[in-house]
Symmetry: C2
Subunit: 171 residues, 2 copies
């Protein structure tokens, strides 16, 4: 097991599920005759990021983590406030390609790195701690919050849409 | 890195944060003069589990995963509908003790196991896939949903309360 195995395949799997949630959101908007883009500005609390930014942050995580674990400077997260559902879908597609292009070999030795924390100058974390204590909890936090915003607004997403398909075996 | 390292320390860390959320929920209830137990039945959607059951499920995950990875029969999840905040706190304390008692050595060879899926008779998953595709996503799903229910109801929980303290290093 490696840092690669413990993060990228599952992050890609979750991003694939976001496309399913967007399908359901658009179908619901059509059925109820409202503009699906309205959902992009919905929040569960007034001081919380809206759906659009939850997705933007979620989609940026695998790219950012790939850069940090290979020692590159991570690109800044773009969060345009006018981004549409179609543009979010394209962003997900692009990230999925980037994850596919990242080879496990590129992360060899990543466990030995110290990852700098942009919000705590002069401080960093061991790469393994960074993945398990910070990257994955943040990733799932934004995934679940985005899902919850849709569910709270009547979209018929369920746990199976969150988890997605599983690699099964016969017992 | 092992299946133990990739799940139990972080699950315990998250359960410790739930106690912080409950502190904030009780303080807010006192300030606004409402019964904090009311929060236990709150949901973000009418067909979703309420806060109490989100926490019950979350707290049961480390116990269930510990049993599955060591080849024991997992105990059924108890979800009493009258469980109070004080009882949930006690349940968290008990689970934290169980996680502490589980030694990494007990999980040696766990990667080779096939974990049966109770909702798909005759089907199972490789233990590593089970942890990354099913156990951790479910765990974070219930953690974030519980957090979101509180946040949606005015409790001043923020991302730092979700993530908790980090193992930092000087750069």
């Amino acid at each position: 097991m490696s840092l690669y195995d413990s993060s990228f395949p599952q992050m890609a799997r979750m991003l694939g599920q976001v496309l399913v949630w967007l399908d359901k959101a658009e179908a619901y908007a059509q059925q109820k005759k409202f503009d699906p883009e309205v959902l992009l500005n919905v929040r569960l609390a007034p001081d919380q990021w809206p759906f659009r930014r939850q997705i933007q942050t979620l989609v940026h995580w695998p790219v950012r983590l790939g850069a940090l674990l290979t020692g590159e400077e991570p690109s800044a997260r773009e969060s345009p406030e006018e981004e549409t559902i179609a543009e979010l879908r394209a962003r997900i597609g692009k990230t999925l390609e980037q994850v596919k292009a990242l080879k496990p070999e590129q992360l060899k030795g990543a466990e030995e790195r110290t990852i700098p924390l942009f919000f705590l100058p002069g401080k960093g974390m061991n790469a393994t701690d960074f993945v398990f204590q910070f990257a994955l909890p943040n990733f799932y936090f934004h995934a679940t919050t985005a899902y919850s915003i849709l569910r709270h607004n009547g979209i018929d997403v369920g746990k199976a849409d969150f988890i997605g398909s599983l690699d099964l075996r016969d017992m």
